[in-house]
Amino acid sequence: MHDVSAPAVHHGPPQSFISKYVFSLDHKVIGKQYYALALVAVFTGMVLSWLMRLHLGYPDLKIPGLHLLSKIGAPGDVMTPEYYLQLMTMHGTIMVFFVLTTAPFAAFGNFFLPIQVGAEDMPFPRFNMMSFWVTFVAFLVLIAAFFVGDGPPLSGWTAYAPLSAVGAVAGPGQGLGQILWAASIGIFCIGQLLGSLNFITTTLDMRTKGMSLMRLPLSAWAWFITSCMGLTAFAVLMPACILLILDHVAGTSFFIPSGLVINDQLQPHSGGSTLLWQHLFWFFGHPEVYIAIVPGMGIVSHVLITNMRRPLLSYKVMIASMTSIAFLSYMVYGHHMFVSGMNPTSSLVFSFPTLVITIPATIITLIWIGSLYGSRLRINAASLFALGFISMFVAGGVSGFFLAQPSIDIMLHATYFVVGHFHLVMAVAAIFGIFAGTYFWFPKMTGRMMNETLGKIHFWFSFVGAYCIFMPFHYLGIMGNVRRYAQFVDDYMQPVLGVHKFITIAALTTGAAQLIFLYNLIYSRFWGAKAPDNPWEGTSLEWSTTSPPPWDNFGGKHLVVHHDPYQYGMKSSTGDYIMQTSPEPSPTGE
């Protein structure tokens, strides 16, 4: 017997229904599965946000059928304050984990990273498949919290101790609900680690001939950088969840100090540190929000370049900037804890990298805007969302100038200013990145075109609607509107209750418009116009194969790459672009 090195891709074309569509080893199917999961999650999360907004705008409103979701949470269909918090917790958790980490990264990344590097698949297809199914199980475990005992936890997606650690005595949902939450997130971490493993090895080891690292599309770089962040961030959240569960079920006191009296009962725990949870959580939590946005930056760059018909002003600067953001993201997490009671010197120390991270973010934004100048911009649904991303990223980013400073944070911490900031960058910008990617890559993924008109209508409602919803959050925050309140009973809040009603209407309208997207997605999937191989005249490797690609991505062809991914703007045999695989020499020699 002699040593035979293993082919990196073990599987042949799948035969059965199960191996084709359920337990598939094909990264493309896995990507679509993640997308479907994210779609279910985002609509769930959005409905939760509608329920939240309805209650905030109209606290005594009877929401028909709500008692079916929870008899104790909504007796007579009127939401209790605790149920508001429970819905809020699930909204945040579902959105951050199951939408913003899955769609831009796991869904599009799984589908397109191997193709963009020129590989047949990822090197560990079984781990990849496990990654999806583990994530799916995590989702089920989380959703289960809606249906147990006194419901899901109410401690927010941040689950601060001791509220999250002491158990049911602290409030409804804090027993089994919180345990399910922690278990779900712990399981989720494992799924993402398996995914990161594949993304990193694909980028480093599976590139086809001629595909050097400096010829990777920016979307591929973004996925690679994100997977490196995921590796370190999720590996820290998981132990935190384990310790939290132990505090619940094993009587340990990692996060629970002594002498706590809850509901007149002296708690049996002692010696733990509540700040420890915050440190562990935010060490994960801050990189997590960059995990949510960096893929969007890559997608937006990629979509924008194709639609501007010219490369960005500097490819290398974009990579360096995204990398610095990833690197800095570990040094800033304390800005979530400025007034937490941690050492005030630490607060100052954390504020400086937080301010510095503005620089690469600004560079990226300026390069996008600067590259628009003198381009041949094409307007379609994909490019509209990409441009919308830029606008939203600017809007959400500048509020960071305030929050990065501890002294100002004294006034703005835990107000709607923070909520406005993170919704603009995450709920809007990152989601716009997902939309841009969808409209752009749908033809490649399904072989059909989406309806452009519906896409544009979807865009307009979403763009204007999102500003209507989230801009007012900043004003509310400035005047001191505290967040995570089920109702606004404070004297100083009474004059602005009308603003909340306005926001609720805007949210419901914008949310309803998302149904246009859903309809477009489903209709086009089955009845959309057939898509050509390269509908956008793109240069990267995904456009060198059929729409959709065959099971091994390139039909047995072994691609050789001759160019960088952004050869646009010149006169060539194909028009104004040269594909990466084209042997035609480029006027620039790149």
Binding site: R310, I359, I369, L384, S391
Partner: protein, 266 residues
């Protein structure tokens, strides 16, 4: 559609700025001695953030307007200075500005956290618990009696877990609202009975989390008589939205009278 989009971006940007410029929704008037440096930081930052916001959105709109619809024969133009110019702009215009903000902000932060309370600061203890704040004044002996969590008995109004037989505790005064004399430095000693909470008074420009298991403190001086709301800003359970009380800033005379009345009710 590109031109419509460009105009929309610019209009939205300007519309967003209007409430800020007009001051439609602002922070309440500052009644503290340290708050003016926080407010100055805020206004400086608003200028920079506001200008950056408007400039970026307007230029974005402008470039969309001018670049859309340019045909395949239109010459691709390079932004003057290319990436280098933009990197320099990011570093030197934006970067140095925000870092300067950070450096100047150290002073505002230091006033709150690095300067110790003066020797004459009046100590007041505040306990946060689901879902109320309670305050304790040390009484004439100037000392707080020890706290025994196992003695907490809300039904009998023993919120702090005090043993009134202990000498230092006998003259302690427990109240549900906080009153302080104007222009007198207060040293607020904070602890939590159960979970994380936070103490926020907008007018006083203070916000500080309670950390279960730790004693945290704040000091401040109020400069204006009046009644102000104290609200909890750290999610603490179902009653979080309703966890609030009032800060009453009074003349020294009124305060002495108030304290006497409260002491009589113990």
């Amino acid at each position: 559609m590109a031109k419509l989009f460009a105009v929309t971006i610019i209009l939205i940007a300007i519309a967003s700025a209007v409430p800020i410029v007009r001051g439609t929704w602002t922070q309440p008037v500052d009644i503290s001695t340290h708050g003016h440096s926080i407010d100055e930081q805020f206004h400086e930052t608003m200028w920079e953030a506001g200008l950056a916001f408007l400039a970026a959105q307007i230029v974005l709109g402008l470039f969309i307007w001018t670049s859309a619809g340019r045909g395949p024969d239109a010459q691709i133009k390079r932004f003057p200075g290319g990436a280098t110019g933009l990197v320099l702009a990011a570093v030197f215009l934006v970067g140095t500005e925000v870092i300067a903000l950070g450096i100047f902000g150290v002073n505002a932060w230091a006033q709150v956290y690095f300067a110790p309370p003066g020797p004459d600061a009046m100590p007041i203890q505040v306990q946060a618990g689901q879902f109320a704040f309670y305050f304790r004044y040390p009484g004439p002996d100037g000392k707080f009696g020890p706290i025994h969590p196992d003695k907490i008995d809300e039904a009998n109004l023993n919120f702090f877990g005090l043993d009134y037989d202990e000498p230092a505790t006998k003259d302690d005064i427990v109240t549900a609202e906080m009153a302080i004399p104007v222009n007198r430095e207060i040293h607020l000693l904070m602890h939590s009975k159960d979970l994380g909470h936070s103490f926020y008074v907008r007018e006083l420009r203070v916000q500080q989390d309670f950390v279960p298991g730790l004693d945290v403190s704040l000091h401040f001086t109020a400069t204006k008589v009046g009644r102000y709301e104290i609200v909890c800003t750290q999610l603490c359970g179902l009653g979080h939205y309703n966890m609030k009380t009032y800060l009453e800033v009074m003349s020294q005379q009124d305060f002495d009278g108030w304290l006497k009345k409260e002491a009589a009710m113990q």
